[in-house]
Symmetry: C2
């Protein structure tokens, strides 16, 4: 069954084993921190009815992949399944999960969810059509306590501090601040104004001011919008700076109080991590209060690697509303960036710490027994695939970065004629007697280490 030519698919990157080991380290770390904080794991199905996906994600409806059964044939599309699409985030499916299973969940419900999502957008560096997100969310029935809005980014901060990402800043805003500010200014088209101000990074303040005036704002109103967007403080002094702009509105007050509470808690628990940044808006339609973005310091051009916010009415069945707040790590994006931009990888391409050599093919069972004894004590190992000469078996280990090679019965005691196993550290060349029932692998060699390869 000869196969046709194999070509990569743009937007669907794949990792080599050492890179996947790095990604697994990220996934395991994130999951461990989520579980330490009492988030319960769930997964949702990969597909949702298209009508549930559309209109929940700004421009995301343009990026949805529909699915169809090939067996249904061309004529029948859209057939029975043609109204199903692959999810483009984990928040919309989570909201649906909460509605569907509400009777069997306890609220407030804290969950984490680590899964693939798909977006049919144009692939570019750091933007993929398939990628893994790692989300935490809390939802409650009717009302959601505001302290959860401070908790979400602090959980992420704890995870990031355990990962080799360097310094990072979680930027927090509250949508009620620009909303109340614009209304207080006399600009009633909040969404339109936000959309223009959101282009600040791309087109600069002059163009933003021009667009705002074109949309009906006065020059003063436009300058006030720009002044608000420029406020960024790592303490609650942003409140005074907003007040100094002289705009008043009850929604603005709500937003300032809520954001000040988040920043205050952040300063107490993890100083220097949270920044009030009044420019942050988030594209997704469903956010109603606090919003988050995360920058890796020194690599701000990567964009946000972890984003989220509060949504008050995403999950509602008409009678009951389940407000929530959550944050999502763009995990494979982050890992791919660290691999390609910082040369991060794992120290070996296999979990195996030991290669058990095979002296002769008829003695393979002896090597298998050594391997079983090592594994019984948690040491990952592999038996050599072929009874090649030892130099070749050592090269096999070396090519994969396996640090130790085990030689069953390698040294025969001259006096007693008893054969002793030996183990060689192939980095130092040191070879010593060893017993598979007692030998311990140095802790740092037991699992692949994270390394900088470039």
């Amino acid at each position: 069954m000869a196969s046709s030519k194999v070509t990569p698919l743009s937007g669907f990157p794949e990792l080599l084993p050492a890179e996947r080991l790095l990604e697994l380290h990220f996934l395991d770390t994130v999951r461990e921190v989520f579980e330490l904080h009492g988030f319960a794991p769930i997964e949702t199905r990969a597909v949702e009815p298209v009508e549930r996906l559309i209109g929940k994600g700004g421009d995301a409806d343009k990026e949805i992949y529909g699915i169809h059964r090939l067996a249904d044939g061309e004529a029948e599309r859209p057939g029975r399944d043609a109204d199903l699409g692959l999810h483009f985030d984990l928040t919309v499916p989570f909201a649906r999960y909460v509605l569907e299973h509400a009777g069997k969940l306890s609220f407030p419900f804290r969950r984490y969810q680590i899964q693939k999502v798909w977006r049919g957008e144009r692939p570019q560096e750091g933007r993929y059509r398939e990628f893994t997100q790692a989300d935490i969310d809390v939802v409650d029935v009717g009302e959601l306590a505001p302290h959860f809005e401070a908790e979400m980014p602090l959980v992420i901060a704890e995870a990031f501090r355990r990962l080799p990402v360097g310094d990072f800043r979680i930027q927090v805003n509250n949508r009620k601040i620009p909303e109340g500010f614009y209304l207080g200014l006399g600009l009633s088209d909040v969404a339109g104004t936000l959309r223009i101000v959101d282009k600040l990074d791309k087109i600069g303040p002059e163009n933003v001011a021009r667009l705002l005036v074109e949309a009906g704002a006065t020059e003063e109103q436009a300058q006030a919008c720009l002044a608000l967007a420029e406020i960024r403080t790592d303490d609650t002094s942003f409140v005074e700076r907003v007040r100094a702009l002289g705009v008043e509105h009850p929604t603005l007050d709500e937003g300032l109080t809520a954001l000040a509470a988040v920043i205050d808690t952040g300063r107490a628990v993890a100083p220097g991590v949270l920044v009030a940044d009044l420019r942050i808006a988030r594209g997704l339609d469903y956010y109603t209060g606090t919003v988050y973005e995360t920058q890796i310091v020194g690599n701000e051009e990567w964009g946000s690697v972890c984003s989220g916010g509060r949504y008050d009415s995403l999950a509602s069945d008409g009678r009951t509303t389940y407000p929530g707040v959550g944050i999502s790590i763009g995990l494979s994006r982050l890992v791919h960036l660290l691999i390609s931009k910082r040369g991060l990888s794992a120290s070996r391409s296999t979990p195996a710490a030991v290669l058990v050599a095979v002296t002769a093919e008829e003695d393979r069972a002896a090597s298998t027994q050594v391997a079983a004894a090592l594994r019984a004590r948690g040491i990952p190992c592999e038996v050599a695939p072929k009874a090649d000469r030892f130099g070749k078996q050592i090269r096999y280990a070396d090519r994969r970065g396996i640090p130790f090679v085990w030689f069953p019965g390698a040294r025969v005691d001259e006096e007693t004629q008893v054969a002793h196993d030996q183990v060689k550290d192939i980095r130092s060349g040191e070879q010593v007697d060893a017993d598979a029932a007692t030998w311990t692998c140095p802790d740092e060699d037991l699992r692949p280490q994270l390394v900088q390869t470039s």
Copy 2:
């Protein structure tokens, strides 16, 4: 944003948190065993070109989900992406991965892969349209050593022994046995004969014999085929029993020798686990030698929960062929069956072992500090969402199965007026002084336990 009515999708089951914790225990155990055996992790993208999927999986081409971008509109289907489909197993994508990345891999290449797959077949109990598979495979360049064929099922046996599945049997056959046997009998349509004999369980021996005769076999040939299919031994005595049928063919000899080697190794390493069962065929087209199926003893009606085999020419770029052997656990199927048929679940619906109570909303920071101290020592915990009266906070923990509730400063020493934290085991009601910097959670309570709920 009120949402429309939520209904489950047939074939796309979802787990509740406690059930997902059970599934994660299975996933973690399987992954740990795979890594102990030196299998390297990879993931492949969820989509493959449809032409690569079709014809590789028996009837699977009827079950493939194609994907299309909604933005491409009706008219443009099949558009740029319309020739992509969701993978229906992990073997076909793995073969493509090997071809695509061969220059960067070291052979023999041992990998594990745990991912979702999708099949558009009719949903029924234990058959889903989306499910997780956990695969191990070894591929080599040009030739693959036969000892790997014994290793694969033994790795699975090690994983299953660590899981609450009860007794199981891995049935092994070698396709060369029926092939050589049929050819030796004078039946040249090997595939057609196999297809008929494969119906034995469904339609019984008389109907199989009738169909074989209708297909051109003599009555004696048909009876010989049935006699072969009935051979099942847990040692190598199957060889004599086949020989006693008096059929000779070099391919038959090859198959018998290969299967005897697998069964011999199995008896030495894990007695009673491997069974030579000459009825096993496996539907997938790409197997060329050893094939495996796995039955849970007492629940044979569930069908095979772990299957695989050797494929000599699945991965080939025309110049180089990469023969492989692998085995795949139908993991979500197995977990769903254990949940629904044996009432298996996890002892709680959250990873949290401790709920830290909040005495008053203004003292929340004190509870957060206790939680941080516990987490720093690896104890998963959650801070109570609301400073309700303690009875209500205890009920919050109880509903989730959280065994301990922590009360900051609960006991004030009468003499010294110093406040001491206390922790209550809400199962026994016992409440004792505790220090968050030193208290240890009993090992059996640190993680959710597996329990039988019915």
